[in-house]
Symmetry: C2
Subunit: 221 residues, 2 copies
DNA sequence: AAATATTTTTAGATGAAACTAAAAATTATT
DNA sequence: AATAATTTTTAGTTTCATCTAAAAATATTT
Protein backbone atom coordinates (compact mmCIF):
# COMPACT_ATOMS: atom_id res chain seq x y z
CA UNK A 1 0.00 0.00 0.00
CA UNK A 2 1.40 3.39 -0.88
CA UNK A 3 1.83 6.28 1.51
CA UNK A 4 1.31 10.01 0.93
CA UNK A 5 3.71 12.64 2.28
CA UNK A 6 1.10 13.63 4.86
CA UNK A 7 0.66 10.05 6.08
CA UNK A 8 4.43 9.54 6.29
CA UNK A 9 4.83 12.72 8.31
CA UNK A 10 2.13 11.69 10.78
CA UNK A 11 3.65 8.22 11.25
CA UNK A 12 7.10 9.70 11.79
CA UNK A 13 5.78 12.15 14.38
CA UNK A 14 3.81 9.50 16.23
CA UNK A 15 6.99 7.43 16.27
CA UNK A 16 8.99 10.34 17.67
CA UNK A 17 6.41 10.94 20.40
CA UNK A 18 6.44 7.24 21.33
CA UNK A 19 10.19 6.93 21.80
CA UNK A 20 11.05 5.86 25.32
CA UNK A 21 7.68 5.40 27.04
CA UNK A 22 4.85 3.08 26.02
CA UNK A 23 1.68 5.08 26.75
CA UNK A 24 -0.71 6.32 24.10
CA UNK A 25 -0.05 9.60 22.28
CA UNK A 26 -2.62 12.39 22.53
CA UNK A 27 -4.26 14.08 19.60
CA UNK A 28 -2.98 17.46 20.77
CA UNK A 29 0.62 16.26 20.98
CA UNK A 30 0.43 15.13 17.37
CA UNK A 31 -1.26 18.38 16.32
CA UNK A 32 1.55 20.42 17.81
CA UNK A 33 4.32 18.59 15.97
CA UNK A 34 2.48 18.35 12.65
CA UNK A 35 1.60 22.04 12.90
CA UNK A 36 -2.06 21.32 12.26
CA UNK A 37 -5.27 21.58 14.26
CA UNK A 38 -6.56 18.79 16.51
CA UNK A 39 -9.57 18.29 14.23
CA UNK A 40 -7.27 17.53 11.30
CA UNK A 41 -5.34 15.06 13.40
CA UNK A 42 -8.51 13.21 14.37
CA UNK A 43 -9.37 12.78 10.68
CA UNK A 44 -5.93 11.48 9.85
CA UNK A 45 -5.79 9.10 12.81
CA UNK A 46 -9.02 7.50 11.65
CA UNK A 47 -7.53 7.09 8.21
CA UNK A 48 -4.26 5.63 9.53
CA UNK A 49 -6.21 3.21 11.74
CA UNK A 50 -8.25 2.22 8.68
CA UNK A 51 -5.01 1.31 6.91
CA UNK A 52 -3.81 -0.67 9.91
CA UNK A 53 -0.82 1.51 10.70
CA UNK A 54 -1.97 2.74 14.10
CA UNK A 55 -4.17 1.52 16.93
CA UNK A 56 -6.62 4.24 17.69
CA UNK A 57 -9.75 4.43 19.82
CA UNK A 58 -11.67 7.69 20.06
CA UNK A 59 -10.60 9.77 23.05
CA UNK A 60 -8.00 7.13 24.01
CA UNK A 61 -5.03 8.36 22.01
CA UNK A 62 -2.97 6.55 19.41
CA UNK A 63 0.03 4.27 19.09
CA UNK A 64 1.79 2.74 16.10
CA UNK A 65 0.99 -0.80 15.00
CA UNK A 66 3.99 -3.00 14.15
CA UNK A 67 3.32 -2.23 10.47
CA UNK A 68 3.13 1.51 11.16
CA UNK A 69 6.34 1.41 13.15
CA UNK A 70 8.09 -0.29 10.26
CA UNK A 71 7.02 2.49 7.90
CA UNK A 72 8.05 5.16 10.41
CA UNK A 73 11.47 3.58 10.85
CA UNK A 74 11.90 3.54 7.08
CA UNK A 75 11.25 7.28 6.93
CA UNK A 76 13.60 7.97 9.83
CA UNK A 77 16.26 5.83 8.14
CA UNK A 78 15.96 7.83 4.94
CA UNK A 79 15.94 11.16 6.78
CA UNK A 80 19.11 10.37 8.67
CA UNK A 81 21.00 8.83 5.76
CA UNK A 82 20.24 11.93 3.66
CA UNK A 83 21.46 14.12 6.53
CA UNK A 84 24.76 12.23 6.55
CA UNK A 85 24.98 12.72 2.79
CA UNK A 86 24.33 16.44 3.05
CA UNK A 87 27.01 16.96 5.70
CA UNK A 88 29.65 14.45 4.58
CA UNK A 89 29.38 14.76 0.82
CA UNK A 90 27.80 18.13 0.15
CA UNK A 91 29.58 20.13 2.81
CA UNK A 92 26.59 21.48 4.72
CA UNK A 93 26.82 22.30 8.42
CA UNK A 94 24.83 20.23 10.90
CA UNK A 95 22.35 23.05 11.44
CA UNK A 96 21.50 23.34 7.72
CA UNK A 97 20.38 19.84 6.82
CA UNK A 98 17.17 19.09 8.67
CA UNK A 99 14.77 21.00 6.40
CA UNK A 100 16.26 19.53 3.24
CA UNK A 101 16.13 16.02 4.72
CA UNK A 102 12.44 16.63 5.53
CA UNK A 103 11.92 16.70 1.77
CA UNK A 104 14.38 13.97 0.77
CA UNK A 105 12.94 11.46 3.28
CA UNK A 106 9.87 11.07 1.05
CA UNK A 107 11.77 9.98 -2.07
CA UNK A 108 10.57 6.50 -2.85
CA UNK A 109 13.23 4.08 -4.08
CA UNK A 110 14.52 1.14 -2.09
CA UNK A 111 17.51 0.65 -4.35
CA UNK A 112 18.47 4.31 -4.03
CA UNK A 113 18.51 4.21 -0.26
CA UNK A 114 20.56 1.02 -0.17
CA UNK A 115 23.06 2.47 -2.63
CA UNK A 116 23.20 5.69 -0.60
CA UNK A 117 23.89 3.67 2.56
CA UNK A 118 26.78 1.94 0.80
CA UNK A 119 28.10 5.19 -0.70
CA UNK A 120 28.21 6.68 2.82
CA UNK A 121 29.97 3.54 4.09
CA UNK A 122 27.09 2.36 6.28
CA UNK A 123 27.05 5.13 8.89
CA UNK A 124 25.69 4.19 12.31
CA UNK A 125 24.60 7.70 13.31
CA UNK A 126 23.54 10.93 11.64
CA UNK A 127 25.23 14.35 12.00
CA UNK A 128 23.30 14.96 15.23
CA UNK A 129 24.39 11.66 16.79
CA UNK A 130 21.01 10.02 16.21
CA UNK A 131 21.14 6.30 15.39
CA UNK A 132 20.22 5.18 11.86
CA UNK A 133 17.69 2.32 11.79
CA UNK A 134 18.81 -0.74 9.86
CA UNK A 135 17.30 -1.75 6.52
CA UNK A 136 15.10 -4.27 8.32
CA UNK A 137 13.72 -1.74 10.73
CA UNK A 138 15.80 -2.09 13.87
CA UNK A 139 16.72 1.09 15.72
CA UNK A 140 20.04 0.71 17.59
CA UNK A 141 19.78 1.68 21.26
CA UNK A 142 22.69 3.93 22.09
CA UNK A 143 21.83 4.59 25.74
CA UNK A 144 23.30 8.05 26.07
CA UNK A 145 22.67 10.31 29.06
CA UNK A 146 21.65 13.95 29.16
CA UNK A 147 24.42 16.33 30.15
CA UNK A 148 21.96 17.82 32.66
CA UNK A 149 22.00 14.51 34.57
CA UNK A 150 25.77 14.17 34.89
CA UNK A 151 27.29 14.65 38.35
CA UNK A 152 30.00 17.19 39.10
CA UNK A 153 33.51 15.78 38.69
CA UNK A 154 32.62 13.42 35.82
CA UNK A 155 34.21 13.33 32.39
CA UNK A 156 32.13 12.54 29.30
CA UNK A 157 32.02 12.86 25.52
CA UNK A 158 29.34 14.70 23.51
CA UNK A 159 27.64 12.01 21.42
CA UNK A 160 24.44 13.64 20.21
CA UNK A 161 21.72 16.25 20.55
CA UNK A 162 18.11 15.75 21.56
CA UNK A 163 16.83 18.57 19.36
CA UNK A 164 17.86 19.53 15.85
CA UNK A 165 16.53 23.04 15.43
CA UNK A 166 19.00 25.27 13.61
CA UNK A 167 18.97 27.89 16.36
CA UNK A 168 20.01 25.35 19.02
CA UNK A 169 22.71 23.79 16.85
CA UNK A 170 24.13 27.19 15.97
CA UNK A 171 24.39 28.03 19.64
CA UNK A 172 26.33 24.82 20.30
CA UNK A 173 28.68 25.68 17.46
CA UNK A 174 29.20 29.16 18.93
CA UNK A 175 30.05 27.50 22.26
CA UNK A 176 32.60 25.25 20.48
CA UNK A 177 30.49 22.19 21.19
CA UNK A 178 30.28 19.47 18.55
CA UNK A 179 30.08 15.67 18.32
CA UNK A 180 33.13 14.23 20.02
CA UNK A 181 33.81 17.20 22.32
CA UNK A 182 35.45 16.01 25.57
CA UNK A 183 33.50 17.45 28.51
CA UNK A 184 34.50 17.77 32.14
CA UNK A 185 31.61 18.71 34.44
CA UNK A 186 33.30 20.92 36.98
CA UNK A 187 30.26 22.03 38.89
CA UNK A 188 26.49 21.94 38.90
CA UNK A 189 25.19 25.35 39.97
CA UNK A 190 22.24 24.94 42.30
CA UNK A 191 20.74 28.37 41.66
CA UNK A 192 19.82 27.92 37.96
CA UNK A 193 20.89 24.31 37.42
CA UNK A 194 23.45 25.50 34.88
CA UNK A 195 26.63 23.42 34.63
CA UNK A 196 30.20 24.65 34.54
CA UNK A 197 31.88 22.56 31.90
CA UNK A 198 35.37 22.47 30.48
CA UNK A 199 35.22 21.70 26.75
CA UNK A 200 38.29 19.98 25.31
CA UNK A 201 40.40 21.00 28.31
CA UNK A 202 39.67 24.74 27.85
CA UNK A 203 38.68 26.90 30.84
CA UNK A 204 35.15 26.04 31.99
CA UNK A 205 32.10 27.83 30.59
CA UNK A 206 28.51 27.97 31.83
CA UNK A 207 25.97 25.82 30.03
CA UNK A 208 22.33 26.54 30.87
CA UNK A 209 20.08 23.75 32.08
CA UNK A 210 17.92 24.24 28.97
CA UNK A 211 20.93 23.52 26.75
CA UNK A 212 22.35 20.76 28.97
CA UNK A 213 19.04 18.89 28.83
CA UNK A 214 19.41 18.62 25.06
CA UNK A 215 23.00 17.46 24.95
CA UNK A 216 23.57 13.68 24.91
CA UNK A 217 26.79 12.30 26.35
CA UNK A 218 28.58 9.06 27.06
CA UNK A 219 30.55 8.84 30.33
CA UNK A 220 34.32 8.57 29.81
CA UNK A 221 35.69 4.95 29.91
CA UNK B 1 5.78 32.50 -5.47
CA UNK B 2 5.95 28.82 -4.65
CA UNK B 3 5.21 25.99 -7.07
CA UNK B 4 3.45 22.69 -6.41
CA UNK B 5 4.71 19.41 -7.86
CA UNK B 6 1.78 19.40 -10.27
CA UNK B 7 2.54 22.91 -11.52
CA UNK B 8 6.22 22.08 -11.92
CA UNK B 9 5.40 18.97 -13.91
CA UNK B 10 3.10 20.91 -16.23
CA UNK B 11 5.69 23.64 -16.83
CA UNK B 12 8.38 21.06 -17.54
CA UNK B 13 6.15 19.24 -20.01
CA UNK B 14 5.12 22.43 -21.80
CA UNK B 15 8.82 23.26 -22.03
CA UNK B 16 9.60 19.87 -23.50
CA UNK B 17 6.83 20.21 -26.07
CA UNK B 18 8.08 23.68 -27.05
CA UNK B 19 11.69 22.68 -27.74
CA UNK B 20 12.66 23.43 -31.31
CA UNK B 21 9.57 25.06 -32.84
CA UNK B 22 7.79 28.19 -31.70
CA UNK B 23 4.08 27.43 -32.22
CA UNK B 24 1.55 27.06 -29.42
CA UNK B 25 1.14 23.73 -27.62
CA UNK B 26 -2.24 22.02 -27.72
CA UNK B 27 -4.21 20.97 -24.67
CA UNK B 28 -4.26 17.37 -25.88
CA UNK B 29 -0.48 17.25 -26.29
CA UNK B 30 -0.06 18.33 -22.69
CA UNK B 31 -2.73 15.86 -21.52
CA UNK B 32 -0.89 13.00 -23.16
CA UNK B 33 2.45 13.73 -21.48
CA UNK B 34 1.01 14.54 -18.06
CA UNK B 35 -1.11 11.39 -18.23
CA UNK B 36 -4.25 13.35 -17.40
CA UNK B 37 -7.47 14.23 -19.22
CA UNK B 38 -7.83 17.31 -21.42
CA UNK B 39 -10.35 18.79 -18.99
CA UNK B 40 -7.79 18.68 -16.18
CA UNK B 41 -5.22 20.36 -18.41
CA UNK B 42 -7.61 23.21 -19.22
CA UNK B 43 -8.06 23.87 -15.50
CA UNK B 44 -4.34 23.89 -14.87
CA UNK B 45 -3.55 26.11 -17.86
CA UNK B 46 -5.95 28.72 -16.55
CA UNK B 47 -4.22 28.55 -13.20
CA UNK B 48 -0.72 28.80 -14.70
CA UNK B 49 -1.84 31.76 -16.83
CA UNK B 50 -3.24 33.38 -13.68
CA UNK B 51 0.21 33.10 -12.10
CA UNK B 52 1.86 34.57 -15.18
CA UNK B 53 3.87 31.49 -16.10
CA UNK B 54 2.17 30.75 -19.44
CA UNK B 55 0.38 32.68 -22.14
CA UNK B 56 -2.89 31.00 -22.75
CA UNK B 57 -6.00 31.92 -24.71
CA UNK B 58 -8.94 29.54 -24.79
CA UNK B 59 -8.83 27.26 -27.83
CA UNK B 60 -5.54 28.83 -28.95
CA UNK B 61 -3.09 26.60 -27.07
CA UNK B 62 -0.39 27.57 -24.63
CA UNK B 63 3.24 28.68 -24.50
CA UNK B 64 5.59 29.47 -21.63
CA UNK B 65 6.12 33.07 -20.54
CA UNK B 66 9.74 34.09 -19.87
CA UNK B 67 9.07 33.57 -16.15
CA UNK B 68 7.55 30.12 -16.80
CA UNK B 69 10.47 29.11 -18.96
CA UNK B 70 12.87 30.08 -16.20
CA UNK B 71 11.02 27.83 -13.75
CA UNK B 72 10.92 24.98 -16.27
CA UNK B 73 14.65 25.27 -16.92
CA UNK B 74 15.27 25.12 -13.18
CA UNK B 75 13.36 21.85 -12.95
CA UNK B 76 15.16 20.40 -15.97
CA UNK B 77 18.50 21.45 -14.45
CA UNK B 78 17.69 19.65 -11.21
CA UNK B 79 16.36 16.57 -13.02
CA UNK B 80 19.51 16.20 -15.09
CA UNK B 81 21.99 16.94 -12.29
CA UNK B 82 20.30 14.30 -10.12
CA UNK B 83 20.51 11.83 -13.02
CA UNK B 84 24.25 12.43 -13.24
CA UNK B 85 24.50 11.87 -9.49
CA UNK B 86 22.54 8.62 -9.69
CA UNK B 87 24.72 7.22 -12.48
CA UNK B 88 28.13 8.61 -11.53
CA UNK B 89 27.97 8.38 -7.76
CA UNK B 90 25.32 5.79 -6.97
CA UNK B 91 26.15 3.30 -9.70
CA UNK B 92 22.76 3.13 -11.42
CA UNK B 93 22.49 2.30 -15.12
CA UNK B 94 21.23 4.98 -17.51
CA UNK B 95 17.89 3.20 -17.89
CA UNK B 96 17.19 3.22 -14.14
CA UNK B 97 17.43 6.86 -13.21
CA UNK B 98 14.58 8.72 -14.89
CA UNK B 99 11.81 7.77 -12.45
CA UNK B 100 13.89 8.59 -9.40
CA UNK B 101 14.93 11.93 -10.91
CA UNK B 102 11.23 12.69 -11.50
CA UNK B 103 10.92 12.79 -7.74
CA UNK B 104 14.26 14.43 -6.90
CA UNK B 105 13.67 17.30 -9.37
CA UNK B 106 11.06 18.71 -6.96
CA UNK B 107 13.38 19.06 -3.97
CA UNK B 108 13.54 22.74 -3.19
CA UNK B 109 16.94 24.04 -2.10
CA UNK B 110 19.09 26.35 -4.18
CA UNK B 111 22.18 25.74 -2.10
CA UNK B 112 21.76 21.97 -2.42
CA UNK B 113 21.62 22.10 -6.18
CA UNK B 114 24.68 24.35 -6.42
CA UNK B 115 26.63 22.07 -4.09
CA UNK B 116 25.51 19.05 -6.09
CA UNK B 117 26.68 20.71 -9.30
CA UNK B 118 30.09 21.29 -7.73
CA UNK B 119 30.25 17.77 -6.27
CA UNK B 120 29.64 16.38 -9.77
CA UNK B 121 32.32 18.70 -11.17
CA UNK B 122 29.94 20.83 -13.21
CA UNK B 123 28.76 18.29 -15.77
CA UNK B 124 27.63 19.69 -19.13
CA UNK B 125 25.31 16.79 -20.04
CA UNK B 126 23.27 14.14 -18.27
CA UNK B 127 23.62 10.35 -18.70
CA UNK B 128 21.44 10.49 -21.82
CA UNK B 129 23.53 13.20 -23.46
CA UNK B 130 20.99 15.93 -22.71
CA UNK B 131 22.48 19.35 -21.93
CA UNK B 132 22.20 20.69 -18.37
CA UNK B 133 20.86 24.26 -18.21
CA UNK B 134 23.09 26.72 -16.37
CA UNK B 135 22.22 28.16 -12.97
CA UNK B 136 20.97 31.31 -14.67
CA UNK B 137 18.63 29.46 -16.98
CA UNK B 138 20.53 29.08 -20.23
CA UNK B 139 20.18 25.79 -22.10
CA UNK B 140 23.31 24.99 -24.13
CA UNK B 141 22.54 24.22 -27.78
CA UNK B 142 24.41 21.09 -28.76
CA UNK B 143 23.21 20.80 -32.33
CA UNK B 144 23.34 17.06 -32.71
CA UNK B 145 21.78 15.18 -35.64
CA UNK B 146 19.55 12.14 -35.64
CA UNK B 147 21.25 8.94 -36.75
CA UNK B 148 18.31 8.44 -39.13
CA UNK B 149 19.42 11.54 -41.06
CA UNK B 150 23.04 10.52 -41.56
CA UNK B 151 24.12 9.58 -45.11
CA UNK B 152 25.72 6.24 -45.95
CA UNK B 153 29.51 6.31 -45.71
CA UNK B 154 29.64 8.81 -42.85
CA UNK B 155 31.35 8.30 -39.50
CA UNK B 156 29.83 9.76 -36.32
CA UNK B 157 29.80 9.45 -32.54
CA UNK B 158 26.75 8.67 -30.38
CA UNK B 159 26.21 11.75 -28.24
CA UNK B 160 22.71 11.36 -26.85
CA UNK B 161 19.24 9.89 -27.05
CA UNK B 162 15.97 11.64 -27.87
CA UNK B 163 13.91 9.44 -25.57
CA UNK B 164 14.73 8.14 -22.11
CA UNK B 165 12.25 5.34 -21.58
CA UNK B 166 13.86 2.35 -19.88
CA UNK B 167 12.75 -0.06 -22.60
CA UNK B 168 14.49 1.97 -25.32
CA UNK B 169 17.69 2.45 -23.32
CA UNK B 170 17.85 -1.25 -22.47
CA UNK B 171 17.60 -2.09 -26.15
CA UNK B 172 20.52 0.24 -26.93
CA UNK B 173 22.55 -1.42 -24.20
CA UNK B 174 21.73 -4.84 -25.68
CA UNK B 175 22.94 -3.56 -29.06
CA UNK B 176 26.21 -2.37 -27.43
CA UNK B 177 25.28 1.24 -28.06
CA UNK B 178 26.19 3.82 -25.44
CA UNK B 179 27.35 7.43 -25.22
CA UNK B 180 30.64 7.72 -27.09
CA UNK B 181 30.11 4.73 -29.40
CA UNK B 182 31.88 5.29 -32.73
CA UNK B 183 29.40 4.66 -35.53
CA UNK B 184 30.04 4.04 -39.21
CA UNK B 185 26.91 4.21 -41.35
CA UNK B 186 27.58 1.56 -43.94
CA UNK B 187 24.25 1.63 -45.70
CA UNK B 188 20.76 3.05 -45.53
CA UNK B 189 18.30 0.33 -46.48
CA UNK B 190 15.55 1.79 -48.68
CA UNK B 191 12.96 -0.91 -47.94
CA UNK B 192 12.44 -0.19 -44.21
CA UNK B 193 14.74 2.81 -43.76
CA UNK B 194 16.86 0.76 -41.35
CA UNK B 195 20.57 1.57 -41.27
CA UNK B 196 23.48 -0.86 -41.34
CA UNK B 197 25.92 0.48 -38.81
CA UNK B 198 29.28 -0.67 -37.57
CA UNK B 199 29.60 0.05 -33.85
CA UNK B 200 33.14 0.58 -32.57
CA UNK B 201 34.60 -1.10 -35.66
CA UNK B 202 32.61 -4.33 -35.13
CA UNK B 203 30.78 -5.98 -38.04
CA UNK B 204 27.72 -3.91 -39.01
CA UNK B 205 24.32 -4.52 -37.43
CA UNK B 206 20.86 -3.36 -38.51
CA UNK B 207 19.34 -0.48 -36.61
CA UNK B 208 15.64 0.14 -37.26
CA UNK B 209 14.46 3.55 -38.38
CA UNK B 210 12.43 3.83 -35.15
CA UNK B 211 15.62 3.42 -33.12
CA UNK B 212 17.82 5.51 -35.45
CA UNK B 213 15.38 8.44 -35.14
CA UNK B 214 16.00 8.52 -31.39
CA UNK B 215 19.79 8.35 -31.48
CA UNK B 216 21.64 11.67 -31.50
CA UNK B 217 25.07 11.85 -33.12
CA UNK B 218 27.85 14.26 -33.97
CA UNK B 219 29.58 13.78 -37.33
CA UNK B 220 33.22 12.74 -36.97
CA UNK B 221 35.62 15.73 -37.24
C1' DA C 1 -20.66 15.00 43.47
C1' DA C 2 -21.20 19.18 40.91
C1' DA C 3 -19.30 22.55 38.42
C1' DT C 4 -15.69 24.02 35.50
C1' DA C 5 -11.96 23.54 32.37
C1' DT C 6 -9.66 21.04 28.87
C1' DT C 7 -9.35 17.86 25.24
C1' DT C 8 -11.20 15.57 21.48
C1' DT C 9 -14.53 14.66 18.06
C1' DT C 10 -18.21 15.88 14.75
C1' DA C 11 -20.27 18.73 11.23
C1' DG C 12 -19.75 21.44 7.58
C1' DA C 13 -16.59 24.20 4.39
C1' DT C 14 -12.51 25.13 1.46
C1' DG C 15 -8.82 24.65 -2.08
C1' DA C 16 -6.02 21.50 -5.09
C1' DA C 17 -5.96 18.43 -8.53
C1' DA C 18 -7.96 15.11 -10.60
C1' DC C 19 -12.33 12.89 -12.99
C1' DT C 20 -16.84 12.16 -16.39
C1' DA C 21 -20.33 13.79 -19.33
C1' DA C 22 -22.13 17.30 -22.02
C1' DA C 23 -21.73 21.64 -24.56
C1' DA C 24 -19.21 24.73 -27.48
C1' DA C 25 -15.62 25.97 -30.67
C1' DT C 26 -12.52 24.80 -34.20
C1' DT C 27 -10.97 22.08 -38.11
C1' DA C 28 -11.63 18.92 -41.87
C1' DT C 29 -14.50 16.83 -45.37
C1' DT C 30 -17.92 16.46 -48.54
C1' DA D 1 -21.14 26.49 -47.54
C1' DA D 2 -23.00 22.94 -44.96
C1' DT D 3 -22.02 18.86 -42.45
C1' DA D 4 -19.21 15.89 -39.85
C1' DA D 5 -15.28 14.98 -36.98
C1' DT D 6 -12.18 16.49 -33.61
C1' DT D 7 -10.58 19.29 -30.01
C1' DT D 8 -11.32 22.03 -26.15
C1' DT D 9 -13.95 23.97 -22.57
C1' DT D 10 -17.64 24.04 -19.04
C1' DA D 11 -20.37 22.04 -15.38
C1' DG D 12 -20.70 19.19 -11.84
C1' DT D 13 -18.25 15.38 -8.86
C1' DT D 14 -14.64 13.13 -6.16
C1' DT D 15 -10.70 12.53 -2.98
C1' DC D 16 -7.26 14.39 0.03
C1' DA D 17 -5.76 17.26 3.55
C1' DT D 18 -6.69 20.96 5.76
C1' DC D 19 -9.74 24.56 8.34
C1' DT D 20 -13.46 26.78 11.92
C1' DA D 21 -17.17 26.42 15.04
C1' DA D 22 -19.92 23.72 17.86
C1' DA D 23 -20.88 19.52 20.44
C1' DA D 24 -19.44 15.73 23.26
C1' DA D 25 -16.33 13.36 26.27
C1' DT D 26 -12.87 13.42 29.71
C1' DA D 27 -10.16 15.49 33.42
C1' DT D 28 -9.66 18.79 37.15
C1' DT D 29 -11.15 21.70 40.76
C1' DT D 30 -14.08 23.28 44.11
MN1 LIG E 1 16.63 15.93 11.10
MN1 LIG F 1 19.29 14.26 12.54
MN1 LIG G 1 8.37 15.24 -11.71
MN1 LIG H 1 17.91 12.42 -18.86
Amino acid sequence: MSTSFAEENYLKIIYRLSEGHTDDISTNAVAELTQTKAASVTDMLRKLAEKGWVNYQKYQGVRLSPEGEKIALGIVRKHRLWEVFLVEKMGFNWDEVHEIAEQLEHIESDSLIEKLDEFLEFPKTDPHGDPIPSKNGVMPELGYQHLADIKAGKRCVLMGVAKDSAIFLQLLTKMKLSLGSALYVQEVNAFDRSVSVSIDEAPAVFISHEVAKNILVKLAQ
